[in-house]
């Protein structure tokens, strides 16, 4: 009798602790949004009219946004997302092209005036430099989103084919 009482209270207390911790440290990340976010190209280029890849993924789930808005991902990405969400997409409309061209950018350092505008807009911190000095692109980290291109006042950032 005593044993039953003891273990009963013990399991109750442990249950309370467990549910409390589960509630307190609840993970906010929606697993489906996270999955779609992983599929997206993560270039944060904003061509889908959302400020970043994560917010576009969220909009697909929460706001019924269309899935064909990501330009760098192309129709291949569309197919992948529709597979994940069990949508019906006819294969006719999607053209899978295996060959992709990846761009990075480089700065023509002679013309750089060191205004530091490009660095503040790069979503992945791929541009290094301090105000007043020449800036340069770390090609390994640049994902070719071209956001910096439109912010340079002297037009000295150029596209460069990285690999095909």
């Amino acid at each position: 009798m005593l044993a039953i009482l003891f273990f009963g209270t013990l399991s109750f207390v442990l249950g309370v602790i467990l549910s409390y911790t589960a509630n307190k440290f609840r993970t906010e990340i929606d697993p489906i949004v996270e999955k779609i976010n992983r599929l997206l190209p993560q270039s944060q280029c904003g061509q889908c009219n959302y400020p970043g890849c994560y917010s576009y993924a969220k909009a697909i789930i929460k706001k019924n946004e269309k899935i064909n808005k990501c330009t760098p991902g192309g129709s291949e990405l569309e197919l992948k997302i529709s597979k994940l969400l069990n949508f019906k997409t006819s294969l006719k409309t999607t053209v899978i092209n295996e060959k992709k061209i990846f761009y990075t950018v480089w700065i023509d350092e002679k013309n750089c005036v060191g205004c530091s505008k490009c660095a503040s807009f790069c979503p992945v911190d791929a541009i290094v430099g301090t105000p007043g000095f020449v800036h340069t692109v770390l090609q390994k980290f640049c994902n070719g989103c071209n956001i910096c291109l439109s912010h340079c006042p002297t037009d000295c950032i150029k596209k460069k084919i990285f690999y095909e």
């Binding site: 190209p41 944060q44 009219n49 400020p51 980290f141 291109l149």
Partner: protein, 523 residues
């Protein structure tokens, strides 16, 4: 003495095929070529700095490059002078760039001063590994992995040394030849390696039909506890370390893992021999045994060949003139690569040069549809399903091919040989592997971008927190506020408790504006 026979699944038995075997004695009548061409792999990430200049005099065994942790230095094969140094890439593979060094020999073949170590047990393993690294020894079976690196990884991790004398390719006998002629030196090499990585058991693996070698070895090692002889059935392919370990222990090496991870250190015979030469005689790696395979009109046999001897020299030497009639393969009959560029020279990893006349090979094969006969999956030595992979490749299902372990394929061409429909399976597999590689790069880039983006967001968030403190400061200084910001907006922000949320919106707005600007500009 211990003799045990091992077998592995699949493979083809080539022993019935009667072709003129290259015999097992070394012929050494090749005279020195005048010109040597040496290729050093050049990559921007790993600097392989040169130690020589144009017109500088070099001696045999003099290092040409510095090497690094993962790259071994390359040595001059003969004494003479450097004629030219340039960048070069082969026409068949443009993406790899090499440094091409041309050495004109003076015919004297003078060595640099050697530092032989007679009693290796007096030195620490670290020093011996450094010597092996300095001597430029890499896996001579074709692996090309620096041996010093392998030894360094193996210390305190392995329990057994496997000496691989199983020739992957049919008819190639360079390893047998080494065993036949330099058996004592190879056993010394084994002892050196087992001293370095503290190994108590050495398995020597030989194919079962090499009776002469087996009797020789067993008479030499019959009362030494260290050595054990293992026989493996005479089938192609047996030389890959994956298959060897599977046959000996019934354990599989997972993809991207090494035999070292499950306690086995695998070395090719030629590598063991050159390790012995490097430590005991102090000689850097400058020559190796190469098997020449050809039709009856061409030449045959095993030769000591200096590293860097150009292919065109052999053709000249054996008076083969009509280049258009022959095909030259570097490597054996099955796994070899066709040579398109006669500038090519014999490098460290090559154990065979295979020359055939055009007529024999130019049979026209037509590729038929796969009939799902299953011959290929029965023969694959590492339990892959080639037909399934082939179907997935055709329908471009890249994640499925990955799931079916395409990256584990060792490109042995067994499946292709047996296919009744003449499907060039390995060609498809190579192509698919390249695609898998690209997908891998893309995934890595994506993950990197995500991490960096999140880091930047975190940093901005932190900055904003400091900024919002300033907001409170602005509230107490009304004059400043009017000048700097739209006052209505600021009041709104301060009234609500969600300052952060509003800042997020602001950033969204900025980015939206930026996007609009970009679009306008692009139009």
């Amino acid at each position: 003495m211990h003799k045990k026979k091992y077998n592995f699944k699949g493979g083809i038995d080539y022993s019935s095929l009667k072709k003129e075997q290259s015999n097992e004695t070394v012929k050494n009548f090749l005279s020195f070529p005048k010109k040597f061409i040496i290729f050093i792999k050049h990559s921007l990430l790993q600097k392989n700095q040169l130690r020589v200049r144009i017109n500088q005099k070099v001696l045999r065994g003099q290092p040409l490059s510095f090497g690094s942790e993962t790259i071994v230095p390359v040595h001059s094969p003969a004494s003479g002078y450097i004629k030219n140094i340039s960048f070069f890439s082969f026409s068949e593979n443009k993406s790899n760039e090499y440094i091409k060094i041309v050495i004109i020999s003076d015919g004297e073949d003078k060595w640099i001063k050697l530092h032989p170590i007679k009693n290796y047990k007096k030195h620490t393993p670290e020093k011996l590994i450094r010597i092996i690294h300095k001597s430029g020894i890499i896996g001579l079976g074709g692996g090309k992995f620096p041996s010093s690196q392998k030894l360094k990884l193996s210390i305190n991790k392995v329990h057994t040394l496997v000496i691989n004398a199983v020739e992957s390719e049919p008819f190639v006998t360079s390893d047998d030849c080494l065993f036949n002629n330099y058996l004592n030196e190879i056993l010394v090499g084994c002892k050196i390696i087992s001293w370095i990585s503290k190994i108590k058991l050495v398995l020597i693996v030989v194919q079962e039909n090499k009776t002469e070698i087996i009797s020789k070895i067993s008479s030499l090692i019959h009362n030494q506890l260290l050595f054990k002889l293992c026989l493996i059935s005479n089938k192609y392919p047996g030389g890959s370390s994956k298959i060897l370990i599977k046959a000996l222990t019934d354990k599989e090496i997972p993809y991207k893992k090494h035999a070292i991870d499950i306690g086995f250190l695998v070395f090719n015979v030629a590598t063991v021999y050159s390790i012995k030469r490097a430590v005991f005689n102090g000689e850097p790696l400058t020559e190796r045994i190469v098997t020449f395979l050809g039709d009856k009109n061409f030449f045959h046999g095993n030769f000591w060949v200096k590293i860097g001897t150009p292919i065109s020299y052999f053709l000249m030497h054996f008076k083969i003139q009509a280049y258009s009639d022959i095909n030259i393969y570097l490597g054996g009959m099955l796994m070899g690569n066709k040579v398109f560029d006669l500038n090519n020279s014999t490098l460290q990893g090559q154990n065979c040069i295979f020359i055939t006349s055009n007529k024999l090979i130019n049979k026209k094969y037509t590729e038929y549809a796969c009939i799902r006969c299953g011959f290929c999956s029965k023969a694959c030595p590492i339990n892959l399903l080639p037909q399934q992979l082939y179907w997935y490749i055709q329908s471009k299902e890249h994640d499925q091919t990955n799931k079916h372990h395409i990256l584990d394929c060792i490109e042995c061409k067994v499946c292709e040989q047996l296919c009744p429909s003449n499907i060039p399976l390995v060609k498809y597999f190579k192509y698919e592997k390249k695609i898998q590689h690209n997908i891998n790069i893309e995934n890595n880039r994506r993950n990197l971008s995500l991490v960096r983006f999140e880091k930047k967001q975190k940093r901005l968030f932190f900055n904003k927190k400091i900024f919002s403190k300033d907001d409170l400061f602005l509230k107490s200084n009304p004059i400043l506020r009017i000048n700097d910001f739209n006052s209505k907006k600021i009041e709104k922000t301060l009234n609500s408790f969600e300052i952060e949320e509003n800042k997020k919106n602001k950033r969204k707005e900025i980015i939206q504006q930026a996007i609009n600007r970009m679009k306008l500009k692009n139009k």
